[in-house]
């Protein structure tokens, strides 16, 4: 069962998989359009829609004042209006909604709407926000030991800065929602959302309705990556408002440029560090100050900051460590969840520190990493007090340094660089350790509803959503094997809030861990009922030698008595029988991750159920005259426990790595001095193409490393591999450094575009010639 293709693969390849904008609706469907702010920060003085309303084909124009419920979208803090009312706080903020017969009508109407603004001074970058101290929430601190005191005693001290850029999710399917009014107050929402329950809550709030009137359904998303964790709610709320105003179905699929302009991105970070270490490169003290650009509203910024702080150690034991985290408000669209959820920024800080130490001591950075890795006992305790159990770092390092031939290639790279002036090679070996669980502990729960029908087919509902990661495939595999039936008996339903209520977002890589357990729980309940029934049924024919419940097994679509194998019945027949015998064939399941919890205020405890680990070695070739990089080879060894589906897991590792590579290299985002996003389409926003994959790309899963803490001994996989791309990022830095024979610390940042690279090289050349 290990290499089952994605359950929708056949539909994907033949164009039969239905996304929101593909749903067939009757001809009364209206097109929903959003008019948004052209200003980063301004007062709205007046809005005149009079001429626009009379454009033929326009059915409704909705303003903030027309919202029947609360004008709010904020998932945690209520600081994000659904439609701007008195002021706008970023370019791209929605002000007016238009429902029209088609896009042309809606655009014609938009042109006639007059909004008078009074522009105000906007804060458009992190530097200014830090200067003005526009904190979204009080600063947070996590610490262990006394970093200041230890720094004083350290043999060597280095300090510096790391900047990481924003990243656009660039899901192929832009934010989409179809809202269909039902009878009375009912509203049916088909949304491309990672979090149907929250979408339901937000729609209920803006419509001023109780939640039981709202049904949200999500069949699949055309990619999400965190971008549809909270910000899918916006499109859903807008579609719902228009459907409510017109009593007609309304569909919204954001135009690509609008999606890029309106939605939040990965948080840009500015990180300051001060590190103390000895001659060997062993770290005794480390202080980080992390500053995050939250954008114009809180959204998930605080939780993201928390995860960045929790990953500031990456894979290393640091006896004295202090991490201070601050998130600021700026007049840019509210930044949001993105694969890794702050983890990547935290890890970027730590890996930069290691790289600096290595360059300073003129040692191989892999060796610096190795001596600082978490070990056992006291050296297995993180800066927030959790023990790194089942530490896979040593085995990963050992296996990957052999299989990638790291030390030999290091010599070859040095030799190449000594021979070549215009081309330089770089090599880097980086690890990732990633904590699995929502750090807001109560979110670690999931529900399921499993129905068995009289023909023996099974319909599985769970609270997770399918965004390409293959969750539904894994769930079907889990359901089939837990029940003892073949995969073709299982269908996993579209996620629907009327089937499984009050769920958490499909996020934090925890989709399979949580929902898989909930499904297992429901199936355990059903199997117990079936076993009980069949024990008594079998016993009817053999009153002398009754069948015992403990001997009833379900395997390969057959139910039988293990003691008396001739007593058997097909699964389908048994289900018909169960119905006749008035046994319920429907059960709900539930799961909450046990044994976790921590004190957020103190920053101490056990936030994570377990850790996932991985390592990567990358080699690049740099054209020092143009800054162009070739990704020659990447070797990855990643730990997914006992894989439920290797094909899907490798897909997550590779896809995550390439997405990280994009963030580290070509995905650059710029705003102009007025707060307008400049890279608002794929014309200028460059995600990796097929040509950017490492020319030699070797991905392996760590074998024989079961994880006792999750379903079927597996591990979560979606987020951690993204951070393996730091091997490529630091390999680039290594190649730049080679231009100056490693005598100068290169200026560097993330993304390392050809521009960043060339400017850094030129700076080094100047220093060298001085």
């Amino acid at each position: 069962m290990k290499n089952i293709p994605h359950d929708s693969a056949g539909k994907h390849v033949s164009g039969q998989s239905v996304y929101i904008d593909d749903i067939l609706v009757n001809t009364q469907l209206l097109y929903g359009h959003i008019m948004y702010s052209p200003h980063a920060y301004a007062k709205i003085k007046s809005i005149d829609i009079s001429t626009a309303s009379s454009v033929p084909g326009v059915h409704a124009i909705v303003l903030a004042k027309d919202i029947p419920g609360e004008n709010q979208l904020g998932p945690v803090v209520h600081d994000e209006p659904c439609l701007a009312d008195k002021e706008v706080i970023c370019v791209g903020q929605a002000i007016v909604l238009i429902a029209a017969e088609n896009a042309e009508c809606a655009r014609a109407a938009e042109k006639l709407i007059r909004i008078e603004f009074e522009p105000l001074d906007a804060i458009l970058d992190l530097e200014t926000a830090i200067q003005k101290n526009t904190l979204l929430a009080p600063p947070r601190t996590m610490q262990r030991g006394d970093a200041d005191a230890a720094l004083k005693k350290s043999k060597h001290i280095l300090s510096g800065e790391v900047r990481t850029g924003a990243q656009e999710h660039w899901y192929l399917e832009t934010q989409s929602c179809l809202a269909i009014p039902g009878e009375g107050h009912e509203m049916n929402i088909y949304s491309s959302t990672q979090h149907p329950s929250e979408t339901q809550a937000i729609v209920a709030e803006v419509l001023g309705l109780p939640k039981n009137e709202i049904v949200v359904e999500t069949r699949r998303m055309g990619g999400a990556f965190g971008g549809k964790e909270t910000q899918a709610n916006h499109t859903a709320a807008w579609a719902a408002l228009l459907a409510h105003a017109t009593r007609r179905p309304v569909s919204i699929r954001l135009f690509r440029d609008d999606d890029q302009k309106m939605t939040g991105k990965r948080h840009p970070y500015f990180i300051h560090y001060e590190v103390g270490f000895d001659d060997a490169g062993k770290i005794d003290a480390l202080k980080f100050e992390q500053h995050a650009d939250g954008g114009c509203a809180t959204d998930l910024s605080i939780a993201i900051l928390e995860r960045a702080m929790l990953h500031a150690d990456n894979a290393y034991f640091i006896p004295n460590m202090t991490v201070v985290g601050k998130a600021y408000k700026t007049n840019l669209p509210s930044n949001t969840a993105f694969r890794g959820f702050g983890g990547p920024q935290g890890v970027a800080g730590m890996e930069t520190v290691i790289d600096r130490i290595a360059r300073f001591l003129k040692k191989d950075s892999a060796d610096i990493r190795k001596i600082n890795f978490y070990e056992t006992g006291e050296r297995a305790i993180t800066h927030y007090g959790q023990e790194v159990e089942l530490n896979r770092l040593p085995v990963l390092f050992e296996e990957l340094s052999l299989s990638s031939d790291y030390y030999q290639r290091r010599k070859e790279v040095d030799a190449f660089n000594a021979r070549n002036e215009f081309y330089k090679k770089g090599l880097a070996f980086t690890p990732v350790k990633f904590g699995i669980s929502f750090t807001t502990t109560f979110l670690n729960q999931a529900g399921a509803l499993v129905n068995i029908y009289k023909d023996g087919t099974i319909l599985v509902n769970h609270g997770g959503t399918e965004m390409g990661q293959g969750l539904n495939t894994k769930i079907a595999q889990i359901a089939a094997s837990e029940m003892g039936v073949s995969l073709d008996r299982i269908k996993v339903n579209a996620t629907n809030t009327s089937k499984v209520p009050n769920t958490s977002a499909t996020a934090a890589s925890a989709g399979t861990d949580l929902n898989g357990m909930a499904v297992k729980n429901a199936i355990d309940i059903l199997r117990a009922r079936i076993v009980k029934l069949m024990a008594s049924e079998f016993s009817k024919s053999y009153p002398a030698e009754a069948s015992a419940e403990k001997d009833i097994l379900i395997k390969d679509n057959t139910i039988f008595d293990n003691q008396y194998p001739e007593r058997k019945i097909s699964f389908a027949e048994a289900m018909t029988l169960a119905n006749l015998q008035q046994v319920s064939l429907s059960a709900t399941g539930f799961y909450a991750t046990p044994n976790i919890g921590w004190d957020k205020q103190k920053g101490w405890g056990k936030p994570f159920n377990y850790y996932a680990f991985g390592m990567s070695v990358s080699e690049v070739l740099l054209d020092t005259l143009t800054g162009y990089v070739r990704h020659l080879r990447t070797d990855i060894l990643h730990d997914v426990g006992d894989s439920i589906n290797e094909g899907l897991d490798i897909g997550q590792v590779e896809g995550g790595f390439i997405q990280g590579l994009g963030w580290c290299t070509t995905e650059e985002i710029k705003w102009d001095s007025k707060g307008n996003l400049l890279n608002h389409s794929p014309d200028t926003y460059k995600i990796p193409s097929v040509q950017d994959v490492p020319e030699d790309f070797r991905v392996q899963l760590l074998q024989n490393a079961p994880n006792p803490n999750a379903i079927r001994k597996s591990k979560a996989v979606a987020e951690p591999p993204l951070m393996l791309a730091f091997s490529s990022w630091l390999a680039i830095k290594d190649a730049i450094s080679a231009v100056g024979d490693h005598a100068y610390e290169p200026s560097f940042r993330l993304p390392a575009t050809n521009e960043v690279i060339l400017l850094s090289i030129e700076e080094i050349k100047k220093k060298k010639n001085q």
């Binding site: 693969a9 994907h12 690509r256 997405q659 070509t666 389409s681 200028t684």
Partner: protein, 479 residues
């Protein structure tokens, strides 16, 4: 040229006639929007509406000979409906037959080629075109065929492997069995439909079959907007939502698609697509081949034309610097005759050329490479493939003995138009081609330009890279 309001093409095995202006379609409705408006063709997706993602990829089949069809993958978001006239439109829904997946589908399923699936129909169509045109393609060829398709989920490796595994049947599939039939049907369309002249609202769309007709129309309608591949023009519709009034579509003119060879030169029809030119140039004009190999994507190059790239006269048009370095000439034609202008003189300002409004670009004439010259081309962009140049260069040096007798150093992206680095050129003439000289020429280049800072890069990067290209040019020519 008779007026008509219909266009006819083959889809789902049937001859389909669309009444422009009636069925809700205008002459500039894109093929993508046409498909998405129907309940049966939601498989084709929109990811960007600008040719950058490939989610909208479809395959166009046209007769190649009496018995063979040529299959080309294109971005349907950039193609206007009338351009389908007389062709077969193949979409993702057409691949599975009698409940059997096509080999490209089967391999994609088995190798985890899809995750969220939204990019997948587009990949399938690029794979189909590859399947039909290449047997056992190399990895480079596969990657080239897939450059125009973005996937945010998979990391591409399984898709490349699926391509390698699928494309081993010499293109045989259910489409091959139908080819003769399809050709018959396409012939029956082209018999009764020749030139198209569509009137719809305030739009006129003319697609002549004869050059003569086109020239006459242009002389009577100098305000008409010329369209060939539409990879530039379509963006005005899909991104800026403009309504284009009067359009002269030259894409049906076979007269503009010919290559003529003479003793000393080649003449390429301005209507030739850049993919055909690329293949043709591999050995005769390597610097042009190199430039076209990083031009857009396969889908874009199959639509985009020489005439369109030169006609746009964009400061970042990629063929312009290299054509200048190759000493090319532009042939213009109007109802009253032909004339030729050297490429180095053709562009006179930001998107401005010497073309008169009654003229069209009919050919690009490139002299055979001079054995005494060295010519190279360079493109610097943030992402190597399917990206617009941050800057580009087309350089040529002609030698008399050891000394440089003539130099062309044409740069794109450094000024409001493709521009030569004149002081550097002057400096080079009469010198030997040494590293010191090249570096000094680079310094001249550096001070000669004052480029812009924009989304693609800052000005300083452009100047440094432009300077360094001189050294790179020197290094590349040392053997």
């Amino acid at each position: 040229m008779q007026e008509n309001s219909e266009i006819t093409f083959l889809q789902d095995g049937e001859i389909r006639t669309i009444r422009i202006g009636k069925d809700g379609f205008s002459p500039t409705t894109t093929v993508l929007n046409y498909l998405r408006a129907s309940a049966e063709h939601k498989g084709t997706k929109e990811g960007c509406a600008e040719g950058d993602c490939g989610a909208c990829t479809v395959v166009i089949a046209e007769p190649h000979s009496d018995s063979r069809l040529k299959y080309t993958a294109i971005d349907s978001c950039l193609v206007f409906l009338p351009m389908l006239q007389g062709k077969q439109l193949v979409t993702v829904e057409n691949l599975k037959k009698d409940n059997q997946y096509h080999p490209v589908q089967q391999e994609m399923i088995e190798r985890n080629g899809s995750q969220c699936g939204y990019c997948t129909p587009g990949f399938i169509m690029s794979l189909l075109a590859l399947y039909k045109t290449s047997n056992s393609p190399s990895k480079d060829e596969i990657q080239d065929a897939l450059t125009g398709n973005l996937c945010r989920c998979t990391g591409y490796r399984p898709i490349v492997e699926a391509a390698a595994a699928a494309c081993v049947h010499e293109g045989r599939d259910h489409f091959s069995e139908e080819e003769k039939n399809v050709i018959q049907k396409l012939k029956s369309i082209s018999k009764d439909q020749n030139s198209i002249r569509l009137l719809s609202g305030n739009q006129i769309y003319v697609r002549p079959q004869q050059l003569e007709e086109a020239l006459r129309f242009l002389s009577e309608n100098p305000d008409a907007l010329i369209v060939q591949g539409a990879t530039d023009i379509a963006l005005r519709v899909t991104k800026k939502h403009e309504v284009l009034g009067k359009i002269l579509d030259l894409s049906a003119l076979s007269a503009l698609k010919e290559i003529k060879t003479a003793d000393r030169e080649f003449s390429f029809g301005a209507g030739m697509n850049l993919e055909d030119i690329r293949k043709y140039c591999e050995n005769i004009f390597p610097p042009l081949y190199k430039m076209l190999s990083v031009f857009g994507s396969r889908q874009i190059r199959s639509l985009a034309t020489f005439g369109g790239n030169i006609g746009s006269a964009s400061p970042i048009g990629d063929t312009l610097p290299v054509l200048m370095a190759l000493n090319a000439r532009i042939e213009l034609q109007s109802i009253s005759g032909k004339r030729e202008i050297p490429m180095t003189e053709f562009i006179i300002g930001y998107r401005k050329t010497q073309r008169q409004s009654n003229e069209l670009i009919s050919a690009v004439i490139i002299p055979k490479m001079n054995p005494n010259s060295i010519v190279r081309s360079y493109k610097v962009s943030k992402r190597k493939d399917l990206d617009i140049s941050t800057l580009s260069g087309g350089f040529s040096l002609t030698f008399q003995g050891d000394f440089i007798s003539a130099a062309v150093l044409a740069y794109g992206g450094m000024a409001e138009r493709t521009k030569r680095a004149v002081t550097a050129e002057n400096y080079l003439v009469g010198k030997k081609w040494t590293r010191e000289i090249a570096e000094q020429a680079g310094e001249y280049v550096y001070s000669e330009f004052t480029p812009l800072s924009d989304t693609r890069s800052g000005a300083e990067f452009r100047r440094l890279a432009a300077r360094n290209l001189m050294l790179k040019f020197w290094q590349d020519t040392q053997h």
